[in-house]
Symmetry: C2
DNA sequence: TAGATTGTTAATCGATTAACAATC
DNA sequence: TAGATTGTTAATCGATTAACAATC
């Protein structure tokens, strides 16, 4: 049996693991069998000690004087992340963002397979985007159960987030990837991971503001060209 | 002159500030003039002491026995974030994600105004999405300079990320909001904030994997009972 | 005054970084 | 053997949490 103690890897470490996979795959393509912590760190702008600590957390041992086995490492990381066998997912909300995510081919790399989209708008239902059908919300629970879908990607408008999340939980969804600006209240038995654009933009704009503030007064931009209404 | 010491607010605090704004605006609509740290914390699932520490960082003082002044707080937070006067932004890459972001009306709330999109694909150039024009990359530098645009939103394919970032930096862009899966090398004088979907999905799927692993072999769960537990 | 709540100072916790002996 | 690199143990750093006197 495998060691199976993937629980309890520190969250910051888990967030860095995908970067390691990317770097290691490049190394693999270059024909490298081993990569040292300092090589990996260099490629990512990290410290080598942090790489060693992170890799220790996924349970791979390196070879002193040589480095870490690249192939083995990729497999171990993907196992830790649950990326070793693909998971099906439903998208709830076939708006701009939902259809964009449904069309993103890169998710396959992360073991995520978007099966279908759901929307409450009858005008959208029946359409096909990126080869995936938009289905009515009424069919969600039944299909989630029949197809054993455990992941839902939430891309509905902010006002509909809470209700959609409840419906998904009811339907047996175990993990919600929340792209809405709504912070959901905890739901028993459901993992919620939020992509918080406001938080990310807050970091960007506050740094920009302090940069501008440092170099002089904030100044209005020239009213010229298309100001374009939203 | 204003106090102007917005530098050095801790990053975790900055990430939480937008949530406070959301809660405070709701309080304002309910006619509240003041909100206590425990009220705010309760609405967000945080500890009151953390709220007080965060609000202290933006420089607003509360009133013992009463709470914090709601309106003043909103203004102060928005100032800290640079959300007090809107910034224009360009989108680079008019693919699914780029057009989705260009159509998201919620950004106005964060002082972000998407002016136009740019793409290197001649087939896309000339089209209009959500009332915004798709322009050729060749015009980027000139327009960025003329309109004093400092923010670019990067939604090109992974392979084009580095090149596009360099072009943006060349054109005087000061802040890059990077939605590509590529981790950019640091660029002198340019702030880069990345929306790392792989990192977010890693957290989601690893938690899901350990949840399934904990309850026995990886098995299609009964579409019934909550499996509970964090 | 009495109750509620702030803001400060100290304690705790967890992650990052440093140092270096062990090992290939 | 000599050089490179790991993994362990300890030190540092920063953020969160606790306790409580000050204050409205």
């Amino acid at each position: 049996m495998t060691e199976d103690r993937q629980i309890s890897i520190a969250l910051p470490t888990i967030r860095r693991l995908p970067m390691y996979v990317a770097v290691l795959e490049k190394a693999l393509q270059d024909g490298q069998t081993h990569a040292s912590s300092s090589q990996i760190a260099g490629a990512l702008g990290l410290e080598s000690i942090q790489v060693r600590k992170d890799l220790a957390a996924v349970g791979v041992v390196g070879q002193a004087g040589v480095g870490f086995p690249v192939g083995e490492l990729i497999v171990a990381i993907e196992k830790s992340l649950g990326w070793d066998n693909a998971s099906d997912a439903f998208v709830i909300g076939a708006g701009h963002l939902g259809t964009a995510l449904a069309g993103y081919r890169g998710f396959a790399r992360y073991g995520l397979n978007i099966v279908a989209l759901f929307d409450s708008d009858p005008a959208k239902v029946g359409q096909t985007v990126h080869g995936k059908k938009i289905l009515p919300m009424e069919k969600f629970a039944d299909l989630a159960a029949r197809l054993h879908v455990r992941i839902a990607i939430l891309t509905v408008p902010a006002e509909a987030a809470t209700e959609s999340a409840a419906l998904a939980a009811e339907a047996g969804i175990k993990a919600l990837w929340n792209f809405t600006p709504t912070k959901l209240a905890p739901i028993d038995g459901v993992i919620v991971e939020r992509v918080d654009l406001a938080a990310s933009l807050a970091v960007l704009s506050s740094r920009l503001a302090s940069l501008v503030g440092a170099s002089g007064a904030a100044r209005p931009q020239a009213a010229d060209e298309p100001e374009s209404e939203v």
